[in-house]
Amino acid sequence: MKENGIEHNKGNRFNMWKIHLSVATVTLIPAAVGINYVAKAFAEGLKLPLWLGSLGTYLASMLAGPTAGAISGFINNIIYGLTLSPVSTVYSITSIAIGIVVGVLFNRGWFSSAKRVFVSAILIALTSAIISTPLNVIFWGGQTGIPWGDAIFAGMIGNHINIWIASFTDEFILDIMDKVVVAYIAFFIYKQLPQRMINYFKDNQ
């Protein structure tokens, strides 16, 4: 049984692109999806202008690498789509990308200080917006569904600005707020995690 043996990593960096999933990762991913779900509900309950719905995905990427993050993101949207909001299934592509980008950035040390987290957050928001924009255009004619973001969108296409640029602006403005806040929350929470927890997921990849 392969998954029972720990492969001791020599360096501190974990094996980034491993597809074989250990049992530890298999239980981490549903937990991460659960956190996404609860965090989103929590933000809605507080009536915050944020989603926080990718917090678990961030943490899964940070703890177990980009593959785990990507799968968390994917399953998150599939489950969300099949239980609550069918159209969000389509946005699983965005969630996969977020998982991968967070994992790679974290591995390269871009989550090590508050300053660097800001740069990471912008890159993540950019990725998210680039991938979501075509989906928004195909399914919603470019809208995001958030009233004030859509007001900007309407204003822009009212002034004959290209629909792609308008849609991207709408999405990016919303993304930047959400992804910056989530990146900082994930950064603080990760710092607070006990070392044994970080090691466990690192050892059992």
């Binding site: 029972n4 043996g5 720990i6 070392q195 044994r196 466990y200 050892d203």
Partner: protein, 292 residues
């Protein structure tokens, strides 16, 4: 060569990877197979770590520097874990995290292990009903595991551990969330288990003395005492800060000793009965049942 009829720990030391200090230092202990071994000590003494080694969680799932050897009969958790695991049942400290996470009902949860072992459906039915009855979960078989109380969850965790009929049972503080009646019923039940080597960590020193064949005392990662409950409790060092059973406290206060056991104080109700008989009866000639 280790004795195949014994549990033996030889020079066992362990340090977690995230720690600088060793959690266990050079532990050497033994117990006969098919006995109940109670592991006592305070927090940070290393009880849970020892359980993890006995179950093979260390070194198979948690990394660190492990030295020494563990042999339970012919099996070893550190050397051939796969075979060993087939024979083992384990109850963790936090029972709710022990649920499989893919079961609609308590019955499905108990069946999970059997399905994994490839047991066929008819046999599964029988065994699920059987173990649920042993731990008084029959009424809950159709309920969702999430709806159970803490004590019921702990009983569920125990059923999932015993349903595969293990020959080695590891219980890490299995009664922490049970109420007094549940705890009493559990220890009464545990005593009836035959043909299994049982390791149990618990703070319930009264119950532990009643059921255990051996006690191992850990203090700061060292095995400071081992023996029968009476031997261990009678030779406790106050530095270890371990509570004593009420029977023992009472016997000390009343100065009731067991004459045929080096004048040790009793630690179980049966032992107390024997020496109280001696003390209370005017017939000093009364034959007392000799120990063992």
């Amino acid at each position: 060569m280790a004795n195949n009829q014994q549990v033996s720990l030889t020079h066992l030391s362990f340090t977690y990877r995230h720690d600088h200090d060793a959690v266990l230092h050079d532990i050497t202990a033994s117990a006969p197979l098919n006995s109940i071994v109670g592991i006592i000590g305070n927090y940070n003494a290393g009880k849970t770590t020892l359980c993890r080694i006995l179950a093979g969680i260390i070194p198979n799932m948690m990394a660190g520097n492990l030295q020494g050897d563990v042999q339970i009969g012919a099996l070893s958790p550190t050397q051939n874990w796969s075979d060993f695991n087939q024979q083992t049942g384990f109850v963790l400290q936090d029972p709710s995290s022990q649920l499989s996470g893919l079961a609609d009902t308590v019955a499905d949860e108990i069946a999970f292990d059997l399905l994994n072992h490839g047991v066929d459906e008819a046999a599964i039915q029988q065994r699920v009903v059987d173990v649920a009855a042993q731990l008084q979960l029959t009424a809950q078989l159709g309920q969702s595991p999430v709806s159970l109380s803490g004590g019921q969850l702990q009983r569920l965790a125990i059923t999932t551990a015993i349903v595969t009929r293990p020959t080695i049972l590891l219980l890490d503080d299995p009664t922490s969330e049970m109420d007094p009646q549940g705890r009493e019923a559990f220890f009464t039940w545990l005593k009836t288990i035959k043909d299994a080597t049982i390791f149990i960590v618990s703070n319930e020193i009264d119950d532990l003395c009643e059921i255990a064949d051996r006690l191992w005392v850990l203090d700061n990662g060292e095995l400071v005492s081992q023996g029968t409950p009476a031997e261990v409790i009678n030779s406790l060092n106050s530095d270890w800060q371990i509570g004593t059973p009420k029977v023992y406290q009472l016997a000390r206060l009343m100065d009731w000793t067991m004459p045929d056991d080096n004048n040790q104080f009793p630690v179980t109700v049966d032992q107390l009965r024997r020496c109280a008989d001696d003390d209370h009866s005017n017939q000093s000639s009364q034959v007392s049942i000799s120990h063992q």
